[in-house]
């Protein structure tokens, strides 16, 4: 391999800190388990006039789905908490995700429409920043509405904030839908710009590709 193209420490920089990479992949696994088992639980009493195909659900039947959901939730929660605390207290969120201004958003939309969006690894454009912020907020609401459904008596004030038990079910469902949409867009963009993939494993990107 040409020296220029190797990912040695000399000509690369770390764009994704180790904690972000580790929590990203644990989160990917935890979300996969939570969503697939959540669909299993949804199918037992659908909110709307459709069910998720059993082939994409986890658990085999309701009891299995619940077992997976209420086991994986601890992984999701502990991992998510570590990520959010890291993001807040190291300044990672502030550096990576802020600011997002209407002007920068308009600029990013215009660049996207003209196919001139810069793909500098390690720096997010305003649309990406907004998407990641929304995904984090959805994740927080997912956990809160989940707690409201799980403990509508012990945590009844939280449940009341979501409009009661049935309201919390709807919020839980729509936050899931938003996150699934995020995942679809996220994976589509990784496929379209595949050089973003390896740095999420190694943490490193070539200096020439970094802003």
């Amino acid at each position: 391999m040409d020296a220029d193209h190797s990912l040695s420490a000399r000509n690369t920089v770390v764009i994704h800190p180790a904690l972000v990479r580790v929590t990203h992949w644990i989160n990917a696994l935890a979300m996969l388990m939570m969503i697939a088992s959540g669909w299993q639980i949804y199918d037992a009493s659908p909110l709307f006039d459709f069910i998720f195909p059993p082939s994409v659900t986890l658990g085999g039947w309701l009891a299995g789905g619940i077992q997976w959901h209420f086991a994986a939730m601890w992984l999701l929660f502990a991992n998510g908490l570590a990520y959010v605390l890291y993001g807040i207290f190291t300044g990672y969120f502030r550096r990576q995700l802020l600011p997002v201004t209407p002007r920068s958003l308009a600029q990013a939309v215009a660049d996207t429409l003209r196919f001139r969006l810069a793909h500098k690894l390690g720096v997010y454009n305003a649309l990406q920043r907004l998407a990641y912020i929304v995904a984090i907020v959805l994740g927080v609401f997912m956990v809160l509405s989940g707690l409201a459904i799980w403990k509508p008596v012990q945590l009844q004030l939280l449940t009341a904030l979501f409009g009661g038990y049935e309201g919390a079910r709807l919020v839980h469902f729509f936050c899931m839908s938003g996150l699934v949409l995020f995942i679809v867009v996220h994976l589509t963009l990784v496929i379209l710009v595949p050089r973003t993939f390896l740095p999420m494993l190694t943490g490193r990107a070539r200096k020439s590709e970094v802003a």
Binding site: A36, A44, L58, G60, W61, I66, Q67, V153
Partner: protein, 256 residues
């Protein structure tokens, strides 16, 4: 909390058929879960042969969640109550069988059998139970499937009854055996909760067969399947008694 899939022998009726049924259920459960694990096996590269070790982990997590829920449970926090105008009509029927198979328990000659760690194990007639102080509640029943419905139940506060019969309230579990071969068990803290009701009425009428005549244990602090209907016998014990759905993999505590 120590768990054994056994049932207190001195408390229950002939065991043979019962434990055979449990064995069959366990087999069915294992088959179902083996099927379902294919999905995760594909993405993690695990062999499906690790299904039983995965199931061990899931069971352990369910036990852990029993403990967490026991710790979260407050003896004094009351479930929200609703005005009678909020009652769901018609209130949905739900059981492990269809509405056509509802058990009809004759009122005449009915006696609630008591067993286990109880001082006075004399059986109770409906007349005796109706003579105890009565109260009612309009609360939300939440099913493990996700749906919920608001209903009105009336009857005897369960803690009053436990006191009356001299139940050992330092014991861990209260178990129930039902006329429809259903069985379940609850923790003592929930048994003593002020909203836990030995329900003899639905609405303002005698509990109809589809809602569990002659009596149902109504707990607005637990999922619907934890509220046994057609109760024929109850017992107090320190040996984990399990339950019809619990033995198939549903979480035992299932608190709200």
């Amino acid at each position: 909390m120590k768990r054994r899939p056994s049932i207190d022998r001195n408390l229950l009726e002939p065991q043979g058929q019962f434990s055979r049924e449990i064995q069959l259920l366990e087999r069915r459960l294992f088959l179902r879960q083996s099927l379902s694990l294919g999905a995760l096996g594909l993405l993690s590269g695990c062999e499906v042969t690790s299904a039983s070790s995965m199931q061990t982990v899931l069971n352990a997590m369910s036990r852990w969640n029993d403990g967490v829920q026991g710790a979260l449970f407050s003896k004094t926090t009351l479930a929200p109550t609703y005005p009678e105008s909020a009652i769901t009509k018609p209130f949905p029927f739900n059981a492990y069988y269809g509405v056509d198979d509802v058990r009809i328990v004759p009122a005449e000659g009915y006696q609630l059998e008591l067993a286990g760690l109880i001082r006075d194990r004399a059986p109770w007639t409906l007349q005796q139970l109706n003579a105890l102080p009565q109260e009612s509640q309009v609360t939300r029943l939440i099913c493990v499937e996700g749906w919920s419905a608001i209903g009105k139940w009336g009857g005897v506060r369960f803690s009053t009854f436990l006191e009356k019969i001299g139940a050992d309230t330092s014991a861990k579990y209260v178990g129930f055996k039902c006329a429809d071969d259903y069985y379940s068990s609850i923790d003592m803290a929930t048994a003593l909760h002020p909203q836990t009701l030995l329900a003899l009425r639905y609405g303002d009428a005698v509990l109809p067969p589809e809602y569990g005549f002659p009596m149902k244990l109504r707990m607005p602090t637990k999922l619907g399947f934890k509220n046994p209907k057609h109760i024929m016998a109850m017992f107090v014990t320190n040996t984990y008694p399990g339950g019809y759905w619990e033995d198939q993999g549903y979480n035992w505590f299932s608190g709200l």
